[in-house]
C-alpha cells in the first residue's frame, strides 16, 4: 500500500524489478567472506580473556608456536600503540588487548595454522598470565561513588578531564525554561526506564581473508558495511599506509550498523604477514555475541509535562547509555531522537558510561529506540490521562518544516504529519480492537546522513551499462542504483549491471550507514549519468554533423529536429570514431539528507497466565521521500520493525557476576522467528526530499525506533501494566501482572 502525495512521474523509479544480485542468492552461489578460500590458506583462531577486567602480566606463546601446523602467533605486542587521542585508539584496543583486558571475550592473542582445528588447539596452548582487576558491569556500578575504574585509558569526551573515568561522554541540550514549562503544565508524568544490551544479530558471523605479500602489501576480502573504512581502520590499527591495503568487498550477510567497525582485518593482515601466507578468520556465533558490538544498555529518567489540551510544554530527561569497555556508540544520538515534537522547553542530559562489557557498536538508528521507549511511553500516558486520541495528541505537537531539532537545527521539509495521518486513516487504526487485546501507537525519528560517495558509469559497446559504486549492498541498494541510472539514461533496468567495486577500482566511498547509500551514492550515480548524457549529446551532434545545442536527450535517445533519433546503442557503436569509450565518474560529499519519520500501530493480547505478549496485528508507516524500489523499502520497514519487536519482547544480554555472558548462543539469545509474528503491513508515505534528484530520504533505520514503545503502549492498553524495563519477556510481564494483582 502506498500513499503518494502526487502522481508518479517516473518510468523506472518506483517499479519493482528483480534485483541484480538475486539469482546468485537463491541458487547458493553468492560468495560471502567465509565462502572464500585462497591457495595455501591458513586458518586463524583467537585467545580471549576469561576475565571481565584484568591486567595482562605476560603472554607466553612458545608452546603454541611449537604445536603442529602453527605458522604464526600475534599478541598486543605486535601492534603499534596509538596515541590516546587518535580517533581509532579505542577500535585498535578493542581489536587486540595490550596491557589490559577490558571484558570477558576481549582478544589477547591470535594464531594461524594449517587447519582451523590446529589453530584452535594452539590458541588453547597460549599461556596468558592475568592479574584480575575489579570489574564494573552495569551503569549503576559504573556511576557508584566508590566504583573501580573499568578502563584505565578512558578519558571523558566533551570535557577537559584528563584522569581515567567511567564516563565516556557528556552532552547537554537545552532550550526554553524547563522550570517555567513544568509550572505551565497541567499534567506531569515521570518515570525511569531501563534496557539491556542487545545484539544486531546478523546471521553471518564476522569473517575475512587477508593475503599479505613479501612486499608488505595486503589484499583483504571482507564482509563489511564499508570496505574503505576497513582499509582506513586497518591502516590506523597497524600504522600502515593506505596504499599497502586493498579491500575487496565480499557479499555481506547482514550488518545493521554492527559491521561499520572492524574486529578481524588487522589481525588477519598481521598473521598473514608473519606467515607469508593467506589467513582466514571466521568468528563463531559465541565470539560474535561475546566480543562484537551490542547496542548500549540504557537507564533513562524522563519527565514530561503537558497542558489539558494536549500541548506538550516541557521535557527533562537524563539518559545514560552504556558504551561498554571503550567509547562505542555515544548517547548523543539518543538525545537527538526526541526531535519529533515542538516542545518549547527542553533539558536533555546524555551521558555515556564505560563498563567491563563488550564495546558497543552502532545498531540501526543507534540510541534512538531506547530514547523513544521513554518519551513515547510518557506521551501515551498523557494521552490516556487526558482522554485524547494518541495520534491527535501527536499531530497537535508534531514538528513541521522550520521547527527545531533538539540540537537547535531547523527541520527541512519533512513528512511527520503525513505519516501520522497515514496511520490515522489506515484500515488498522479504524478497525475495532480485537476482544481482550490492547492497541498501542508510537512514533520514531532518524535524521539520516549524507557523506562521501563515488560512482562510475561505463557504457558498453552495445549500449548497455555498468554502474560501479563503493557502497556495500546490505539490503538491495544495487537495484536502487540501477533504477536511478535507468531513469536517467532511459535504459531498461535489466540492461544495467550494478557493481560494488574494491578500494582500488572506484573512488572513495564512506560506509553504508545512516540510511545513506541510496541517498548519497544514488546522487553520485545520477551525477555520473547526467555527465554521460552530455557526452552522448556531443557524440550525437558529431555523428549527425550538427551543433550540440540542436540535440535534445529524450527517453534514452538523442533527438535532432528533422532527423531520426539516435539510441544509446547507435552512439556507442560509433564511439571509436567519435572520441572513444563513453564513461563518466562523479564524486560528492552529499548534503541535504532528509530526516525520516515512522508511526507504528500494534494490537497485542497478553496471556495473563504465562505473561506472553502476542502481536495480533502490526502496521508500520514511514516517510521514504521517494521509494526507488518499493519492495525493498517495505523490506526495510518490515525488517526494522521485527528487530524492534525482538528488542521489545525477548532479546537481552545476561551476564553472570564475573561478567561472562550466560546466553551467548542463538538458542538463549532469543531473536524473533516466523511463528512469533504476524504479517507486518507497511505503508510507504512519500514526501520527497527536495535535496535529492528523486526525493530519496533513506529508509534503513527509522523502522526500528517505534516498535518498543508501540508494544509497551499496547501492553498497557491490554492489561493496565506500564512496562518500564526491557525486554518485556514472559517472566518480566508475569511479574508485573502479579504486582498489579497485589501478589
Amino acid at each position: 500500500m502506498t500513499v503518494a502525495t502526487k502522481p508518479r512521474p517516473y518510468k523506472y523509479v518506483g517499479t519493482r524489478p528483480v534485483r541484480h544480485d538475486g539469482l546468485e542468492k537463491v541458487t547458493g552461489k553468492a560468495r560471502f567472506a567465509a565462502d572464500l578460500n585462497m591457495t595455501a590458506q591458513l586458518h586463524g583462531a583467537f585467545v580471549r580473556s576469561p576475565h571481565a577486567h584484568a591486567r595482562i602480566i605476560s603472554i607466553d606463546t612458545s608452546k603454541a608456536e611449537a604445536m603442529p601446523g602453527v605458522k604464526a602467533v600475534v599478541t598486543g605486542a605486535d601492534f603499534p600503540n596509538l596515541d590516546i587521542k587518535h580517533p581509532e585508539f579505542d577500535t585498535a584496543v578493542n581489536i587486540m588487548a595490550r596491557d589490559e583486558a577490558l571484558y570477558n571475550g576481549h582478544a589477547v592473542a591470535a594464531v594461524a595454522a594449517l587447519s582451523a582445528k590446529q589453530a584452535k588447539a594452539a590458541a588453547a596452548a597460549v599461556e596468558v598470565h592475568y592479574e584480575a582487576l575489579p570489574a564494573v558491569l552495569t551503569i549503576e556500578e559504573a556511576l557508584a561513588d566508590d566504583a573501580p575504574i573499568a578502563n584505565f585509558k578512558n578519558r571523558t569526551l566533551f570535557t577537559k578531564d584528563t584522569e581515567p573515568s567511567n564516563l565516556a561522554s557528556i552532552n547537554q541540550f537545552d532550550r526554553g525554561d524547563i522550570a517555567a514549562g513544568f509550572a505551565q503544565a497541567d499534567i506531569i508524568v515521570e518515570r525511569e526506564f531501563t534496557t539491556t544490551a542487545v545484539h544486531q544479530g546478523y546471521i553471518e558471523p564476522h569473517a575475512c581473508v587477508a593475503d599479505c605479500g613479501q612486499d608488505g602489501k595486503v589484499t583483504i576480502w571482507a564482509s563489511s558495511q564499508g570496505h574503505f573504512a576497513v582499509r582506513s581502520k586497518t591502516a590506523d590499527s597497524l600504522g600502515w599506509s593506505t596504499d599497502r591495503i586493498k579491500v575487496i568487498p565480499a557479499e555481506i550477510g547482514g550488518g545493521f550498523g554492527g559491521k561499520t567497525t572492524i574486529y578481524l582485518e588487522p589481525v588477519a593482515a598481521l598473521l598473514s604477514q608473519k606467515a607469508a601466507r593467506p589467513v582466514k578468520l571466521v568468528m563463531t556465533r559465541e565470539e560474535v555475541l561475546r566480543a562484537t558490538g551490542p547496542a548500549p544498555a540504557t537507564k533513562i529518567h524522563a519527565k514530561l509535562g503537558a497542558t489539558t489540551d494536549g500541548t506538550l510544554t516541557t521535557l527533562a530527561s537524563t539518559m545514560y547509555f552504556d558504551n561498554g569497555s571503550t567509547k562505542g556508540y555515544s548517547a548523543l544520538t539518543g538525545a537527538m531522537s526526541v526531535a519529533s515534537y515542538k516542545l518549547p522547553n527542553l533539558e536533555l542530559h546524555a551521558i555515556g558510561t564505560v563498563t567491563n562489557t563488550p564495546r558497543s557498536a552502532a545498531y540501526r538508528a543507534p540510541s534512538a529506540p531506547q530514547a523513544a521507549f521513554a518519551v513515547e511511553t510518557l506521551i501515551d500516558e498523557i494521552a490516556q490521562h487526558l482522554n485524547l486520541d494518541p495520534i491527535e495528541l501527536r499531530l497537535k505537537n508534531a514538528v513541521v518544516e522550520g521547527d527545531l531539532t533538539a540540537m537547535g537545527v531547523p527541520h527541512p521539509k519533512i513528512g511527520f504529519v503525513e505519516t501520522l495521518e497515514a496511520i490515522k486513516n489506515s484500515d488498522h487504526y479504524n478497525s475495532p480492537i480485537p476482544k481482550g487485546a490492547g492497541r498501542g501507537v508510537a512514533t520514531g525519528f532518524w535524521f539520516n546522513i549524507g557523506e562521501q560517495s563515488s560512482a562510475t558509469v561505463n557504457l558498453n559497446e552495445d549500449g548497455t551499462a555498468a554502474v560501479i559504486t563503493g557502497s556495500p549492498d546490505i539490503g538491495g541498494s544495487r537495484a536502487s542504483m540501477a533504477l536511478m541510472a535507468a531513469e536517467e539514461l532511459g535504459l531498461a533496468v535489466d540492461r544495467i549491471t550494478p557493481i560494488v567495486a574494491d578500494t582500488e577500482s572506484v573512488g572513495f566511498t564512506d560506509i553504508t550507514e545512516g540510511s545513506r547509500a541510496t541517498f548519497a551514492t544514488g546522487m553520485a550515480v545520477v551525477n555520473a549519468c547526467r555527465e554521460l548524457i552530455s557526452e552522448l549529446q556531443q557524440r550525437a551532434a558529431t555523428i549527425r554533423g550538427v551543433d550540440i545545442e540542436q540535440v535534445e536527450w529524450v527517453d534514452g535517445t538523442a533527438q535532432i529536429e528533422g532527423q531520426d533519433p539516435l539510441s544509446i546503442a547507435e552512439i556507442t557503436a560509433l564511439a571509436k570514431k567519435t572520441g572513444g569509450p563513453l564513461t563518466a565518474t562523479a564524486s560528492l560529499n552529499a548534503a541535504g539528507a532528509g530526516p525520516s519519520f515512522a508511526v507504528h500501530v500494534a494490537d497485542v493480547a497478553v496471556d495473563e497466565e504465562t505473561g506472553v505478549a502476542k502481536i495480533l496485528r502490526y502496521t508500520a508507516a514511514q516517510d521514504a521521500g521517494t521509494a526507488i524500489h518499493p519492495s525493498y523499502v517495505e523490506g526495510q520497514i518490515q525488517g526494522g520493525s521485527v528487530q524492534g519487536i525482538g528488542w521489545a519482547l525477548n532479546e537481552e544480554y545476561i551476564y553472570d557476576s564475573n561478567g561472562e555472558m550466560e546466553n551467548a548462543s542463538f538458542l538463549d539469545y532469543r531473536m524473533p522467528v516466523a511463528s512469533d509474528l504476524p504479517m507486518i503491513d507497511p505503508i510507504i508515505v512519500e514526501v520527497p526530499n527536495p535535496s535529492h534528484p528523486y526525493g530519496v530520504r533513506g529508509v534503513g533505520e527509522t523502522g526500528i525506533v517505534p516498535p518498543i514503545p508501540t508494544l509497551a503502549n499496547a501492553i498497557a492498553d491490554a492489561c493496565g501494566v506500564r512496562m518500564t524495563a526491557l525486554p518485556m519477556s514472559p517472566p518480566r510481564l508475569l511479574a508485573a501482572l502479579n504486582q498489579r494483582n497485589g501478589n
Binding site: 537463491v26 541458487t27 519492495s631 517495505e634 525488517g639 548462543s665 542463538f666 504479517m679
Partner: protein
C-alpha cells in the same frame, strides 16, 4: 588423524570424500564438495542457515558428523533448480523480494521446499511454524511467508494444468 571414506548421494550425484570423525557434515559439504550454500550461522542448530534435506527430512548440517552421511541422500539448494529452470520457490523469492542480504536464503528455500513437498497447500500458520527453525534478521519474514504462499499456488496450478492436459 584417521579419516573415514564416506560415500553418499548429493544433489543426485554419487560422491565420496574423506573426513575425520569429528568433522561436521556442514564443513564436509563446504570444504570437500564446495557446496557453499550451506552456511554456518551458529554451529549449534539454532539458526537454520545450514538446512539440508537428508533422506527426505530437513536437518541442520552442523548437527551431523560427516561420516554419518554414509549411504544417505542429501539435497542442498544447489540441487533445487531443474537445469535452466529455477524452482518456483526460487522464482517467487526473487520476484517477491523475499531476501535482503541473502545469507539465510538457501536454508529457507530448502525448508520451504520440504514443507511444500509434504503439504502442497499450507496455511500461513503452517508455513510460519515450518520455517520457525530458520532465522532471518533482514526481512521480518513477511515477504518470505508470502513468497512461499505464492509458490504453493503456482505449484498447485501447474500440477492441475498438468493433470488436465
Amino acid at each position: 588423524m584417521q579419516r573415514t571414506h564416506v560415500n553418499c548421494t548429493v544433489n543426485g550425484d554419487q560422491v565420496d570424500f574423506l573426513a575425520t570423525d569429528d568433522t561436521s557434515l556442514l564443513n564436509a559439504l563446504r570444504d570437500e564438495l564446495g557446496l557453499i550454500s550451506v552456511k554456518e550461522g551458529c554451529g549449534t542448530g539454532d539458526c537454520g542457515a545450514c538446512t539440508i534435506v537428508v533422506d527426505d527430512k530437513i536437518n541442520c548440517a552442523c548437527l551431523m558428523f560427516a561420516p554419518e552421511a554414509e549411504g544417505l541422500t542429501i539435497t542442498t539448494v544447489e540441487g533445487m533448480a531443474l537445469g535452466e529452470q529455477l524452482h518456483p520457490l526460487q522464482q517467487t523469492f526473487l520476484e517477491g523480494a523475499a531476501l535482503q542480504c541473502g545469507v539465510c536464503t538457501p536454508g529457507f528455500l530448502v525448508a520451504a521446499k520440504a514443507l511444500l513437498d509434504r503439504n502442497p497447500d499450507p496455511t500461513e500458520t503452517e508455513i510460519r511454524y515450518a520455517l520457525a527453525g530458520n532465522l532471518c534478521r533482514c526481512t521480518g519474514y513477511d515477504k518470505i511467508i508470502r513468497a512461499t504462499q505464492e509458490a504453493a499456488v503456482q505449484m498447485q496450478t501447474s500440477k492441475q494444468r498438468g493433470a488436465s492436459t
